[in-house]
Symmetry: D5
Subunit: 147 residues, 10 copies
C-alpha cells in the first residue's frame, strides 16, 4: 500500500461516512488545515492520532501505520499545476512573488518566511457581492545567519 | 526601454531616495502590496497615478507612459523559482495545494478563489519566539458556471 | 477506481449504447459542452444528475459517486498537447495570445476573461467550400481589483 | 531591427498616437483581430497594407519591409504562458481539450479544425451581472485524408 | 484494454502470422503507410475495415471496436525522440526547418503544408553505393485566411 | 558577428535585391534546398562558393569567412517548434514516427535512414483542389553494424 | 511481455546462472559490447542467435521472439541521466562536445561520426596508480552530402 | 569580456592565422584534445601556457588572464544537443549507457570511470570502405568507498 | 521484484521491527549513512552483508540477491526535488554552488571533490537555541589530468 | 549595472589584486564561505561591510550600493548544473537525498534542516592517498509546527 493509496482511501471513506475535515480535525485536536495536509500525505500523525483516525474512517492497520511515517512531501503531479484552483495560487506566486519579496525584505531584512514553522487558516468571508475565500498565513521570519 | 528596465529603474531610484513602499502607496492612494506589484510590472497605473510616481521617483517620460500600459505579467525567471523566499511560497502550494482544494470545495463547492478580484495584506506579527510574517489573502469565490 | 478509469468507462459505455453527447446532456438538463467536460472528469455533477447518467450508461455505484466529487482538473497528458486537433487550439493561443490580450485590454482595461464563469458552444457551420467548426465562447470580464 | 522590435515599436507608436486597433484595421481593410496579429508579428501584410500602416504609425522603411516578410510565428515567451489573461485560454485547452475533441469527432469524424483557414471575432457582450468577453471562432473542418 | 495495448497486440499478431504491412493494407484498400499509422493508433478505421483486420489478425471484439474510435494521437514517449531512426527525422526538422519554411513561403506565400490532407509514400531506392530510403510527402498548401 | 547575424543579414540582403533561392543556388552549383540550409547556418560553403555569394549579396568579409566554417547546427529556438509550418513537420514525426520505423525495418532490417548522406527536393504539385507541397527525401539506409 | 521485462529477465537469469557477458557473446559470435546492448533491448538478434541465448538463459518463447524484433531504442529513464557512472559519459559530451566537433571537422571537414556503422571496445587498462577503464570507439566518418 | 567571447575570439584568430589545434597543442606541450578543451573554456592553462597562446593568437591581456581562471564548465547550449555530430555522442550514451554500466560493473565492481583523471585521443582510422573516426578514452576506475 | 520494491519492503520491515539504521549498520560493519544509502538502492552489499540484512529484516531470497547487484542510482522522482527537507539541500547547491566552486579552486586548483571516494557523517549538534543538524562530508580532491 | 555584472567585476578585481577570499572575509569580519556567497550575489552586506569591500576592490559606487540590496538568489544557470564540481553536489543530493531524509527523521522527527539558519566550513583535509575536501554544514533543525 503506497502513501497515495492511503490518501485516496481516506478521501473515499470520508465521502462515504459524510465526515467533514473539521470533524476529523477535532478528533485529533488539530486545525482542519493541518489535518487535511496530514491525511493527504504531507504531515505526520502521532500514534494516538493515527489510531483515532483509523477508527473514525475504518482504515486497515497498514494505513494507520503509514500515517505515522514521515512522508515524501509534494502533492502535485506536475511542476506547473493544471488544476485551475491550485493554479491560481501558483499564479499569485508568479505575479506577486517579487513584490512579496520586496515588502518582506523592506520590513525584516534578508531572510525568509518559514514554510515549516507555519500555520494557515482558511475561512468563508461573507460579502454582498459574492462570498470570498479568506486565507491567513503566519510563518516565522528566519533571518539569514551571518557567520 | 522595456518594462523590466522600468522596474529596475524604480528599484534603484527608490533606494537612492530612501523611500518606502508604503510612501509610494500613499502617494497614489493604494495599498503597499498593490503598489509594489504595479511598479514591478504586474498591474496598471492610471495616468494620474503614473505621473505622481514619475515626480516622486524622477522617472523619464517613457517610463511614466509604460506604467499605464497593461503589462505581460509574470515576475519570475523560471517555472520553479530559485530564490529561497519565493520558493517557500511555491513549496506551500506544492505541500498544501491539494488540501486547500479539498477545504475550499467542502465549503463552497466546485469553483476557485479568484486571483483577479483579490487583495493581499502583509504585515509583521510580533512574537516573543521571533516575529512572524503575517499574510492575509482575500479572493472572491467563483463557482463554475453550469450551462 | 480512479477518475480516469471512470472517464474511460463512460466513453466505452457511450459507444456500446450508441448514445450521443447531446442525449446525455438532455438527460441532465445541461449543454453538450458542459456535459462532455463533466463526464470526462473536469466538472462536478449533482447527485440527481449523476444518478441519471448512472442509469443511462449502467455505471457502477463507485463511478456514480465519483462523478459528484470535484475532480483534479486538466485533461491533457503533456504540457504541449501532441494530438493534432487539440494542438491547433494550443497553436491559436500561441499565435493569437498577445493579440487577444491587446484587444481585450483596449476594450475593457486590465483584467481577464473568466474561464470559470464561462460557457462554450460548438456547432457545425455549413459552407460550400467545406463545412466549418464554429465555436462561441463567453466569459465574464473580471477587472483586476485595485486595493 | 528584429521582428520583436518592430512589434514593440508599433505598440509604442499606437499608444502615442492614440489609435485603436479597429482604426488600423480599417486602414488596411481587414478585421481588428487579423490586423493585431499581423502587426504583432504573426501574419504578413501586402506591400500596399504595410505602406499604409507605415504612414499611419510613422514607421521606418526597415519596419515597413519586415511587415511584408512571413514571420517565425509564436508570440509567447514560454511553453506554459505566465500572463493570467493568456493563461486562461491555455487552461481552457487543458480543461476542455478532450471534450472539444470528442464533440468535433462525433459531429465530423476524424480530422481537425483548421487554425489556418480560420477567423476570429472578439467583442463585448453586455450583461447586467458584468459585461462578458464574447469570442467566435470559425475554422474549416479538415478530414484526415485516407490514401 | 487501452489503445496502446491494441497496438502492441497487433504488432505481436502480425509477427506471429508473418504478415507484411502491405498485405494488411491491401485487405482494407489503403496504402501501407496509412494502414500502419491506423493500426498503431493514429488513424481511424471504418467498421468494415476494422472487421477485416480483426479476422486477419484474430483480434478480440474490444480491439476491433477500438480501431473505429478516433484516437488521441501522438506515438512518441518523449518530446525529443530517443530512437535513432525516429530522431533522424526530428533532426531533419531541426536542421532544415527554417530552410523548408523559406522555400515554401517563397513559392506559395504565407501558409502551411497540411499534415491532415496529406499522404506519404516510403520505398526502397536501389543504389550501387548502398540502397536508399526514399520518402515522398504530399500535403495540400493551406494559405492563411485574411479576414 | 555571430552566425545568426550572418543568416539574418543574408535574408535581408536577399529581400532587398529580390533574389530567389534558386538563383543563389545556381550561382554556386547546388540545389535550392542545400543552398538555403547552407546560407541559414546549417551547411558549409567552399571558399569559391562563399565568395560568389559574397559578391551577389554584398556581404562583408567577416560573413564570407563565417560561411566557410562548419556551424553548430540546429535552426529552431525551442525543442518543440512554435511556428505552425515547422510544427506540422514535427507533428508528422510524432504521428507517423513509429509507422515509418516499422515500414523501414520491415523493408531493410535494423538501421536508420541517414540524415547526412541525404538530399531533399521541395516543389509545387499542381492540383485542381488546391496546389500541394511535394517533398521528396532520399537518405542512404545505414544498417547497424554487428561486431 | 514488454521489452523492458525481457531485459530485466535476462539480467536476473544471467545473475542466477553466473554467466559473464563475454560467454553470452561467444555463444552468438559477437563482441561483449554488442551482445550486452542487444540483450538489453538496443540491438536485434538473428533467429539463430536468439535461440542460442534462449537455451543458455532458459528464456520463454515470447522473450526469444522479442529479441528478434527491432526495438524502440534508448535505455535511459531521463534526458539527463541520474546514475553517476552513466552521467560521467554525459558530462564528457558536455565538457568535450565542442572540442570533439572542432577536431573532427579540422581533420575531416563537415560531417559526423556514425553511431550506426560503429563499434566499441571496453577493457581494463592495468595501471600502478589504479587500473583504468579503456574505451575505444570507431565510427565511420559520414560527410554531409552536397546536392 | 566573457569566457564565451574569449572562445569565439580564439576560433576566429585560429582561422585567420590558419593554425591547427595540434600546432597550438605543441606550443604548450599538451595533447590537441586537452588544448582544444582548454581554449574553448573547459580547462585551465598555466600562466606560461596562456602567454604562449596569447602570443601565437595575438590575444588581448584580458583574454590571456581569463584562460588561467578555472571556468564554469559545460559547452553545450541545451540539455539535449541539437548539433548532429555532438548528438551522435549523446545518442551513444543513450543507446549504450546501460550496457557500458553492466560491462564496467562486471569487470570492476561498483564504481565509475573518472571523467577528471581522464584522457582522450581522436584520430583518423584509414579504411577502404571510408575512413573512420577513432576515439580512445582512458579514465581511472574509482570504486565507491565503503565507510 | 524491482529495486524500488525492495527499498519499500526494507522501510516497512524496519518500521515493524523497530530497528534503527545504526543497528542495521552495525550488523554489517558500515556507517549508518552508507548503510541507509545501500538499503535504499544506491550502494551494493557484499554477499555476507546482504545475508545478514536478510536475516535481520526477514527478506525474501529475491530481495537479498538484488541488494548485491549494482543499482541504477538516483533516488529522487524529479529533477528539482519537491520534498522540503531534500529541497533545502538542492537550494544550498543553488545558493552556494558557485561560492563552493570558487573556494575549492582557490585552495586546490582546477578539479572536483569526488562523490565516489566520499564519506558523510550526520549527527545531532545540541544547541540551547534549538538543536542543529550537523553534516560532515569528506571527498577526495581529484585534479583535472593534463595530457 | 546588474547584480551579475557586480559579481563578475568582483571576480576580476580579486584576480588582478591577487586577493584571497579569506582576506576579503577578514576585512568584513565574516567567514570566507559567507563572504564568497555575499560577494557573488547570494547574501547582503551591511553598509560598513560594503564600503570596506568597495575600497579593497576599488568598486564603483553603484556596485557598493548593490551589495547592500537583498538579491534574487540562485547562482546556477540551469536546473541541473553542468559544471562537474557543482554537479557532484547535485549528485550527492540525488544519491543520498532519501537516506539523509531517513536519518534526520529518525533522529529528530518530521521537519527540516534550515538552509537559512545555516553555516558551512570548507577546508583541506591532508591525506597520504591524496588530500581531501572537507565540508562541515550546520543547520538548525526546524520541526513542522502542528496547529
Amino acid at each position: 500500500m503506497t502513501r497515495d493509496e492511503v490518501s485516496q482511501l481516506i478521501i473515499n471513506k470520508k465521502r462515504h461516512k459524510q465526515l467533514k475535515w473539521v470533524q476529523l480535525a477535532e478528533a485529533i485536536g488539530q486545525s482542519k488545515e493541518w489535518t487535511a495536509a496530514a491525511l493527504l500525505g504531507q504531515m505526520t500523525l502521532s500514534e494516538a492520532q493515527a489510531e483515532k483516525i483509523g477508527v473514525l474512517l475504518e482504515l486497515p492497520v497498514d494505513a494507520i501505520e503509514m500515517l505515522q511515517v514521515v512522508p515524501y512531501k509534494g502533492s502535485l503531479p506536475s511542476a506547473v499545476p493544471t488544476d485551475p484552483l491550485i493554479y491560481r495560487f501558483y499564479e499569485l506566486v508568479n505575479v506577486y512573488g517579487v513584490s512579496i519579496k520586496e515588502l518582506i525584505h523592506e520590513e525584516f531584512g534578508d531572510g525568509i518566511m518559514s514554510a515549516i514553522d507555519f500555520s494557515m487558516d482558511i475561512r468563508r468571508e461573507p460579502d454582498p457581492n459574492g462570498d470570498r475565500v479568506h486565507i491567513e498565513m503566519s510563518g516565522k521570519f528566519l533571518p539569514y545567519k551571518k557567520y
